[in-house]
Symmetry: C2
Subunit: 255 residues, 2 copies
Amino acid sequence: MLAHQQHQNVSELASLNWPLIKKLNFSQQLDHKEIVSLRKLHEQTLVIEKHQDFLSQNNIRNQFIVINQGWACRYSTLSNGNRQLINFYLPGDIINPYTIAATNGTHSVFSITSLYISPFDQEALQQLLTLSPKLDSLYKQMICAEEAMLAEHVVRVGRRSAYQRTIHLLLELYQRLDIIGHTQQNTFNLPLTQELLADMLGMSIVHMNRTLHRLRDEDLIETQSNKISLLDIHKLEQLAEYQGILLDTKLAAQG
Amino acid sequence: MLAHQQHQNVSELASLNWPLIKKLNFSQQLDHKEIVSLRKLHEQTLVIEKHQDFLSQNNIRNQFIVINQGWACRYSTLSNGNRQLINFYLPGDIINPYTIAATNGTHSVFSITSLYISPFDQEALQQLLTLSPKLDSLYKQMICAEEAMLAEHVVRVGRRSAYQRTIHLLLELYQRLDIIGHTQQNTFNLPLTQELLADMLGMSIVHMNRTLHRLRDEDLIETQSNKISLLDIHKLEQLAEYQGILLDTKLAAQG
DNA sequence: CGCTAGGTTGAATACGCTCAAAGATCGTGG
DNA sequence: CCACGATCTTTGAGCGTATTCAACCTAGCG
């Protein structure tokens, strides 16, 4: 995975505190004008306490939301109490309220940690993309990457063993966090309980615990409080057949 | 589920032989001009034989593809031979080659039956959406619905029993096929082997067989050759907690 | 008529679940 | 600063859903 790129000046460097801008800049270096337009999406900021269902059937306000800090997730709960997490929203990710709404009220979005977010209108985004073909292309690329991760999640949950699933998810999180500079060496902050991990991977808490234990025993991971270290990424990638998502693809354009 | 809508004249009626147009017209009635623009996406048509990997790492041509007839699927194969289907492409669906590419070559698209397809350039689509806000909105709605179905697929595979999974998928297929007029009463053509169904739902062929058998024993479904009938949709929806996807949502606009 | 792909059935096994209970950790208030 | 409660983690044991292996059946097609 690539090292972080260089930047021109202090003002732009400060803009990279906005993880969305940092993420897009990682894909393809942004110029001053593009950074300025992207900052406009962050004009409004607000805080959401942790453990809140802040987006569901009841309170959809037709605004897009970019995560500036913290983790959230989309999930669905079945009548027997079973919960399945669908995806994580990490800093720099954009929540499209219409995909939540399209499921007829069965999906909600939940703040795993406290959140700093910026809601914005769809028109603001649309305008920005219309004015800059490069941002338009990068945005589409981002959507494709998200779709691809969701597709990989299906494969993970459908056909991988609990052991592989766990490794695969950890590697994906590592890759995503690395892009926004949220890793130190092979270590990153993982604000998930084993219950959340289990609900993401479609397994029980007990088995999640045993799987993590096994990974620790095998010296593949190390955990302390909320920190997790991947001790042998190459081996983990082989074990889980992790290929990675093309987040910085050189593909021409997307739709 | 809604009845099919009325149409103005013979020419437009003929256009509804193109399932993409029929599907969009189902969401929101199209006028003559919109139908004409959509027909332009169908200028080129070609046939693909069944059981072909016609889109994979090797042969991505950066063209979008609309399915006019037949079924295809996106899938991934693991090194142990396990295969997971990610989604079905039915008539009227559009394949975005960039989402396939974003998975770094792990996903391919396969023709389940022989196919009639129309490839088109992304620019053609872009132009059409720029000129018509209504089509733009409908297209985004379609993308959201697809994303929502993929998300529901995660839930299905992750947290539902084999029995519920099977029912849930059958209901979703029924809903999608109904929109393009590919159902007769509660019956539709299901060109899937039990192996494909099993690979879609993350289960073994043997268990797929037993589950279908149980559904037949319980008088919930009836099969003959490739036809399947859902004998009590209401009960099936309850059993699987099927909520349906909002394919004809009245939501304002999407991104 | 025989081949092949797909469907069906039985039996043994296993992966992961449920139930249950005991530790550990963290935040909070006394 | 300690104690307490709540949440999260860990461990054991029994069980069940779904898998694997293996064989046989059926239908369609050359």
